[in-house]
Amino acid sequence: MSRLDRTRTSAHQLRPFFSSQNLLNRADGSAQFDFGESSVMCSVIGPAEVKLRDEKLDKATLEVVVRPLVGLPGIKDKAREQAIRETLEPLVLSGLHPRTGIQIVVQTMKDDGSILATAFNATILALLDAGIPLKSILGAVTCIVDSETNQILLDPTTQELANAKSTHTFVFDNKSSITSSPENKDQEEAVEVATLYSDSTGLFSEEEYFECAQICYKAVQAVHGFIRTAVQKKLEKEQQQIHS
């Protein structure tokens, strides 16, 4: 089966990843993450000074700014800001930096679908680059259920999205393979998918939703692996003078 973007051969294939960290000189941390021809740049400033009215006495204030590629920011971008901020809040150890602000700016560079997932991945790489203390990392993938074939397609392009019956974006942290309940830990190590963020629209059945979650969960493991490799490469480059 061939995908609409013609570079992929299977429904569960992601587009090639690309990432780059520490690109911007003014920000404390920055990263770009690409899924094929979708690209998002993210910058992080902080822990830095925070406006008095946003100051929190016991933790850092997270601010997320989402900027569209075309046009002025609208309510879609506001909703994305909320989604990214509320997903990061439980992850960021903000209690370590009270009365400070962490500003995250997310800029779409190229849009060929699955922008929210791309933005999540760029954001986590930028936070790692900035050295913001985190409980865990995250990875995000979007999938659709095709309206004609009813097939689940991972990481859809703009063209594929136009044909979707339903669209699902999932975010998983690298702790999400939790055991179902702590008591029967010994009996079965049943790994169960646990979602950090989930956003589904369109028309879909309960089975479709959970199947999408499973498939995206598997795909996100590749994203986690990619993030690990990206960080490793950067660290090895920094350390090569010492360890050679």
Binding site: E37, S43, V70
Partner: protein, 276 residues
């Protein structure tokens, strides 16, 4: 968050070095920083790096109804909102003086110099025209946002292709990229900005100031020219007073810079066209 002022040491060192004939990054006075142009797979998007300054320009289009008093004219719009990504000093929803200046300069250099043929954007007079929108995103601010933004804007416009249309009577068909090759915009000329910064009572002038140089400068001026040595815009908003001769000297330097940059833009566009 306001930008922190440079320390006295930085300020004095920079001025002393300029007196000595040196710039902090090792450039000569009239050198631009290394210019890099990167295109994506899509038409009309370009990322410009001028040293550490980074700007992304994205051109898009839509069909709209023209104004009744100008039934054959299309639209060209610029969006130059400064993003906090470039510098924490740029806040969302609050325009800084710098933003106003940058926006107006780009507007003057690109739109008022009639670089784009807006009459050529007409599809059906009084009914349908193209509206071209240029979104300029500032990603990293290491000085001279204006020159970088103008290079990005004009390069993106040159790179852009709009869908082809056929008009039969009142019926307008807009062809998708698959059906028909998209068509380039008709660009009259390529305006390029050259920004100068002045130091030491205006005796020392440099091209393409970095952020630190901008913080220490006494004044600046932006000359917008095209390769035909036509002045499109000239902007000197405040700063120290200058001799007329010096302005002439600036334009002479700018002529050389504009030729270099225009050649580089065209070479980049040709290289990209070959890959497609």
């Amino acid at each position: 968050m306001r930008d922190a002022d440079p320390s006295t040491n930085e300020r004095e060192f920079l001025l002393a070095a300029l007196k000595d004939g040196a710039r902090i990054d090792g450039r000569k006075f009239y050198d631009f920083r290394t210019l890099r142009l990167t295109f994506g797979a899509e038409y009309g998007a370009v990322e410009v790096q001028l040293g550490n300054t980074r700007v992304l320009a994205k051109v898009s289009c839509e069909v709209i109804r023209p104004y009744t008093d100008k039934p054959t004219e299309g639209f060209l719009m610029f969006n130059t909102e400064l993003s906090p990504m470039a510098s924490a000093a740029f806040e969302v929803g609050r325009q800084t003086d710098e933003e106003v200046l940058v926006s107006r300069l780009i507007e003057k250099a690109m739109r008022r110099s009639r670089a784009l043929d807006t009459e050529g954007l007409c599809i059906v007079a009084g009914e349908k025209v193209w509206s071209i929108r240029v979104d300029i995103h500032f990603l990293d601010h290491d000085g001279n946002l204006v020159d970088a933004a103008c290079i990005a804007a004009i390069t993106a416009l040159l790179h852009f292709r709009r869908p082809d249309v056929t008009v039969v009577g009142e019926d307008v068909t807009i062809h998708t990229l698959e059906q028909r090759n998209p068509v380039p915009l008709s660009i009259h000329h390529i305006p390029i900005c050259t920004t100068f910064a002045f130091f030491n009572n205006g005796e020392r002038m440099i091209v393409d100031p970095t952020f630190l140089e901008e913080q220490v400068k006494e004044g600046d001026m932006t000359v917008t020219l095209n390769v035909h040595k036509e002045v499109c815009a000239l902007s000197k908003a405040g700063g120290i007073p200058m001799e007329i001769d010096q302005i002439l000297q600036c334009t002479k330097i700018a002529v050389v810079k504009v030729a270099e940059i225009t050649a580089q833009i065209q070479a980049a566009l040709e290289a990209d066209a070959k890959k497609r």
